[in-house]
Symmetry: C2
Subunit: 347 residues, 2 copies
Amino acid sequence: MSKKPYIRPLDFKHGCIDLTHGSGGRAMAQLIDELFLKAFDNPLLRQLNDQAAFDVPAGRMVMATDSHVVTPLFFPGGDIGSLAVHGTVNDVAMSGARPLYLAAGFILEEGFPLGDLKRIVESMAAAAEEAGVAIVTGDTKVVEQGKGDGVFINTTGFGVVPPGIDISGNRARPGDRILVNGTLGDHGVAIMSQRENLSFGTGIESDSVALHGLVAAMVETVPNLHCLRDPTRGGLAATLNELAQQSAVGMRIEESSLPLREGVRGACEFLGLDPLYVANEGKLVAICAAEDAEPLLEAMREHPLGREAAIIGEVQEDPNHFVQMQTAFGGMRMVDWISGEQLPRIC
Amino acid sequence: MSKKPYIRPLDFKHGCIDLTHGSGGRAMAQLIDELFLKAFDNPLLRQLNDQAAFDVPAGRMVMATDSHVVTPLFFPGGDIGSLAVHGTVNDVAMSGARPLYLAAGFILEEGFPLGDLKRIVESMAAAAEEAGVAIVTGDTKVVEQGKGDGVFINTTGFGVVPPGIDISGNRARPGDRILVNGTLGDHGVAIMSQRENLSFGTGIESDSVALHGLVAAMVETVPNLHCLRDPTRGGLAATLNELAQQSAVGMRIEESSLPLREGVRGACEFLGLDPLYVANEGKLVAICAAEDAEPLLEAMREHPLGREAAIIGEVQEDPNHFVQMQTAFGGMRMVDWISGEQLPRIC
């Protein structure tokens, strides 16, 4: 937090994180000054207090938090920094809120290259700027080598819900339509393609992106949107099961309606994975009344992040709250929760 | 998030965290149901969305975040769970705000005993209840064995600043008085006493506690309080140097005025540590106008968490922004930032 020049500036070419960078002393102040403040610069962060203060109008606010432990740290279409911004912006946006502020907490492993950290922090700053959110407060901790894994990033987001919007996972009703904004499984396959022993070069990039602009367009067209959720860990299957449970309904989706890239389909077949369970980071599931479905689909398709949007199924009465899928061959299949682990550390 | 009974309830006696607990599937839902929702239960958390929504009046809000990586996880006077609540509640409170809500992000290591996690989560729940804050949203990630260290907890707090309060690190002015609410270094010495090879049994407990009640009493008596900050990592020395830099002033403190337990003094002498640099988790530094110092001191001493409060020095003009200490022997000594690491992973 010092304005005094440090004896030597941080060496982003050859330097590494050491325990002093988390000690609360001069080395930590230097890391904050020369890296975080520079990259994230904004008036709230520049208050340099241990908290950020800002004025809000009366109304409905939301808060969402996500810790990011993705491995590898850099992957096709993004890195842990951009993912940490998109993931939390999207959790805020899934309430219909406009995301405003992010808090960022870093857990760094001793020995982590300062150059990699700089790349991640700058990617985070770019993602935040593109999303129009400010990173207003933060925290840095350092753990010994072997007690972490390079860098973990927690982001907590804060946003404001426009008046009249009431989007919640418990609002799905029988007869409602289920929509997605585009292709499924891109993020998970992009990460897998980079993992050790799985380098099969699919050319698939993560779909990681901030969705609040798309959400704003959707609620403008259909203010009475019932549910929104981003199918991240556990994929579409986990999200639909969560919503079915929360709303005490069943769901039926059609396999032939699910948008899927050829490369993702191929990679999943090769690996024995089901794309329904593969994570996304730039997708959303929307549920609305039947009569709102066509206008909503149109609004989504007009937005750059909804070009491949589709109506994929509908909500049904079902005391068991099952999610079922009509397969391409005409049969019905249960879409259950996964009980085991499909893809660890995907976000 | 399921309301269905799981086939077998979690085994808190012999069970361990595995990667499925972070997968977004049924095992994660079970962990959330049977541990987190049960311990933290409140209406906002029960919304079960990926974000918590709440109504606020117009005004000044604050946000603060802290990742907790303390080792050992359990220590005299607390554990990582209570610390994660107190640390963030205090960062929020140091703006004069009333803390309202917390978000909690867990990074768990594969193999971590479920029983230890339960103990930590219940301690967190008790600390939150005692502090009158609700844990309204959360996130759980699991990393492979050897890629974490048991459990890391990020907490992000949200609070409301009462009208008319403007507390900030840049408001210290020459002539202002510097106060603390009690003895210094207790937390750091309590942690050290538990570390391997340092088991010297001081009987000192961590001072970890939520300070917003004390702060409320202080701003009621002195609404024009200039600065508040909790001297955690880096101790009193780091905090005074930060405030001196931010306010562009110098400071002079008196060694004879610093409240210090005999056990802490002894442990520091034994270990060659300076108590000025040892962390606290239930202490605050307050800076106010000279004429407000006595009323403020009185208000602090009337509060259970300020019984041993003291005026420890004053703010001075100083273009170098130095912090100096009049020693017990009458000499003057520089109180600089530490540049190295005194105590890694103290919070």
